[in-house]
Symmetry: C2
Subunit: 222 residues, 2 copies
């Protein structure tokens, strides 16, 4: 399928693309260059996959990142085209201008959701992993996607367990008042009531979590 094009081959291929478009481009009459546009279906087809957004939500320390990374690696291992969006690649780049006020947290999630939508349009399976504590923000994210594209993944872990682990030392800081509006301490986590996937990091092994996610992915008709 993959071709390296030489310059001499370009014009015939352009003609072919414009004339017959028998590969992955949709057929259409009266093709002009202006209409030679690629749809998200074309982009998905080349990747032989159905684009999806697996939106991970849960407390800090619940295991979101660990599960999201493992899911990502296993999907890549089986030939899927994926990408994890998380604090590491968003907060230092796209959202570097945002802090942690309520308004900024809403805007943080809105932008992540918009980027996820663009990546799904590009044909990817995208895995945003954010605390995203407010139901309204997650619903706004969901509203950007087509029916069935958005899969909410609730990583459920008791606050005590997350605080006990405290891998980043954030709960300790929050308890000292150094991190105001910290989810679970002085800001609420609105647990999803109808998440498509409900994982429990305490009672399930990582393998079981991944198996659950793969089951959901593969139960979706391609």
């Amino acid at each position: 399928m993959k071709q390296n094009l030489l310059k001499s081959e370009v014009t015939p291929i352009l003609r072919e693309a414009a004339g017959t478009r028998d590969f992955v481009l949709p057929r259409a009459k009266n093709i002009t260059w202006q209409t030679l546009e690629v749809t998200s279906q074309d982009r998905a087809l080349i990747k032989s996959q159905t684009p999806k957004c697996f939106w991970f939500t849960g407390l800090s320390g619940s295991g979101k990142s660990t599960i999201a990374s493992a899911f990502d690696a296993v999907l890549l291992r089986s030939g899927e085209h994926t990408y994890v969006l998380d604090g590491d690649n968003i907060r230092h780049g796209l959202n570097r201008d945002l802090g942690f006020t309520d308004a900024d947290r809403v805007e943080n999630i809105r932008r992540v959701a918009e980027v996820a939508r663009l990546m799904v349009d590009a044909g990817l399976i995208v895995i945003p992993s954010f605390i995203s504590p407010f139901a309204a923000d997650r619903e706004l994210a969901r509203s950007l996607f087509k029916e069935g594209e958005f899969i909410e993944v609730y990583v459920d872990a008791p606050l005590e367990e997350c605080e006990r682990r405290d891998t980043k030392g954030l709960y300790a800081k929050a308890r000292k008042g150094e991190l105001p509006n910290f989810t679970g301490i002085d800001s609420p986590f609105e647990a999803p009531s109808q998440a498509e996937v409900h994982l429990n990091k305490v009672s399930q092994t990582l393998e079981q979590c991944i198996a659950h996610l793969l089951g959901v992915l593969h139960s979706i008709p391609k």
Copy 2:
């Protein structure tokens, strides 16, 4: 390469991925799940391509979108994984909160560049197509990428020609003062002095422009 995983196959594959990682995941000792992370090289490898950002800049009506769309379609036709970022999918989504003040235009380009960077990290060939009239903004965009990843594509067309075409009727509005700060009318276009690709929509056919771009893409070592 593409596998559909059944639940029963998951655990052995997880073990294999964690233990040997002989497919596209990098080898490492003492693998733990936390380190099972996927690099941008892994993501590019699965797509058999070198991720790039082809940043189109030029006046409104210069032909940016037409060339970018055609380039995108031809790349997809040859099996590349691509995505066009343009006003249509950015201004109504991610950047819907931005207007056309100087500050908002800078922020518009900054966010587009950050999204392009994420998409390159995801292994795609991404094609942002924006007037992006200011050299400083384009340099900021370039600075987000690794050496050689960012290819500036200047679509050069005389203002008179763009205004004569005026496909969207924007120049007419700008001349009436209905669109303040319109590039070319009452806001400058700082032409790139060292763009990697300099296209001239007036003297070159669309086929020649695409051939030029493909030549640049394929001259880059994979």
